[in-house]
Amino acid sequence: MKVTLDQDKCVASGQCVVAAADVFDQDDDGIAVLLDPAPPSDRADDVEQAAAVCPALAITVQD
């Protein structure tokens, strides 16, 4: 699983952190930070949830 994050699009909703805190974090202004661009496959559901709830469509997940 390969995850990419477009920080320019991020609107700091923090929902990726709620969905998968070990894969995403936020900087001090709330902009998402990708901690793990290749998370283990058992994290797939949470990472897909993070991508789905991102209001700015800033997260892309590839199998």
């Binding site: 609107v11 700091a12 909703s13 969905a19 936020q26 202004d29 949830q49 789905a52 469509l57």
Partner: protein, 407 residues
């Protein structure tokens, strides 16, 4: 083949009026006429108060697609914008702007709403909630839950976060109620807006003279640095103050009413010690109640092809999240309140770049409230008949005016 006319062929006088009325017997459900439009198709035409006929987006998938599309504008001053009421010289700051200015201003206020900062506030919110419940329990065993609890919790929290004196709560609560009411005369709304701006402007002056550790002081620093005009800072303050207390207050009172009407669901919250169950319940209540009714309003900047239709540049678009959250394709048996369902993909906070900036705070407050109130007052009950309650049909935020409870 169906014989239904395509929406653009519908004569304006034939398009249904929007917003539509809820059914008195089903105060938690979107208007039946809105549900009927959803069944007809994902894109419909409706008629507004001024005779214009914008697009109504009825289904979840199309709602998310359009709200995330950069070819739509939230700028209320653009021709074709489907205004919910006569323009009245008021502003709601960056929520009615487009990028890049929207993004620039929004990023000035995101810092206090990071998950980490919001979690750090949880003990303080718990203390506020417990204190208000202590007060309720020390008085007569009946009260109006709105005044005693639902309104003070988020007002105290947002005042603390912004640096607004809570002692002024009567003033800003009365004025924000007028400002977001569709039925208040335009002059009254304009006056309420002017009063709130004047109040925030004065407060901004205080913060610039003597900054503290709060959000308004942070904006004051930006005014001093020339990144923001003082007027813009005051507008942002009004937006955050209103959004910070009206919405959550209505979720607390209306959510409690919904739970009292569904005792089996209320028991789930009362009996659990599991934070995951509580957070799941909050998402379902947000989906089910969807208190921001009347729809997100946008206008197309270019022709947009979607769901077999073409939305032309300059046409208005209305996205009523309440019906999106009741889309049976996404939420099976959508009219059932089911605190155990996975409702996390709801659009109660909107979608796209304008999605609610304060949502982590709202969620945390609701988690604390719902996990505490019914556990501490297990005999809480409605102290009137459901039919006697008066609902907020005319505002941009739905809820109940008063909620008499006893225990």
């Amino acid at each position: 083949m169906t014989s239904t006319a395509r929406p653009e062929e519908v004569h304006p006088s034939a398009a249904p009026e929007f917003p539509m009325s809820r059914a008195a017997a089903c105060p938690f459900d979107p208007p039946p006429a809105l549900k009927a439009e959803q069944e007809q198709g994902p894109l419909r035409k409706v008629r507004l108060w001024d005779g214009t006929t914008p697009w109504l987006v009825t289904r979840y998938a199309e709602q998310r697609t359009l709200l995330a599309d950069p070819r739509i504008s939230a700028d209320v001053t653009r021709p074709g914008y489907p205004s919910p009421a006569p323009l009245r010289g008021t502003s709601f700051s960056f929520i009615l702007m487009d990028d890049p200015e929207h993004a620039r201003q929004r990023r000035m206020v995101t810092a206090p709403f990071t998950i980490r900062r919001v979690e750090a506030l949880r003990p303080a919110v718990q203390k506020i909630v417990d204190g208000l419940i202590d007060e309720m329990l020390s008085g007569p065993a009946r009260t109006d839950l709105v005044q005693a609890f639902a309104l003070p919790v988020p007002s105290l929290v947002i005042c603390e976060l912004l640096g607004v004196p809570y002692g002024d709560h009567d003033f800003f609560q009365v004025n924000s109620k007028t400002l977001i009411s569709r039925s208040a005369p335009p002059e009254a709304r304009a006056a309420a807006h002017a009063d709130l701006i004047g109040y925030l402007d004065e407060l901004m002056g205080d913060k610039i003279a003597g900054p503290a550790d709060d959000l308004l002081s942070g904006l004051g620093t930006r005014v001093e640095a020339g990144e923001l005009s003082r007027r813009e800072a005051a507008e942002m303050g009004v937006l955050l103050l209103i959004a910070g207390h009206e919405t959550t207050a209505n979720m607390i009172a209306l959510g409690t009413l919904a739970l009292l009407e569904h005792p089996d669901q209320l028991a789930l919250l009362r009996d659990t010690g599991d934070a995951k169950v509580v957070s799941g319940a909050v998402e379902e209540l947000l989906r089910y109640l969807n208190i921001t009714h009347g729809g997100r309003r946008r206008v197309a900047l270019e022709d947009i092809e979607i769901a077999g239709e073409v939305i032309r540049a300059g046409e208005g678009i209305i996205v009523p999240n309440d019906i999106g959250n009741r889309d049976p394709e996404v939420f099976p048996d959508p009219d059932r309140l089911d605190l155990r369902r996975d409702a996390r993909r709801h659009v109660a906070f909107g979608f796209g770049v304008h999605q609610c900036v304060g949502q982590p705070l709202a969620r945390m407050e609701l988690q604390v409230v719902y996990s505490t109130l019914y556990r501490r007052i297990p005999t809480l009950r409605l102290d009137t008949a459901l039919e006697q309650l008066s609902f907020k049909h005319d505002g941009s935020v739905y809820g109940v005016h008063e909620l008499p409870v006893a225990w």
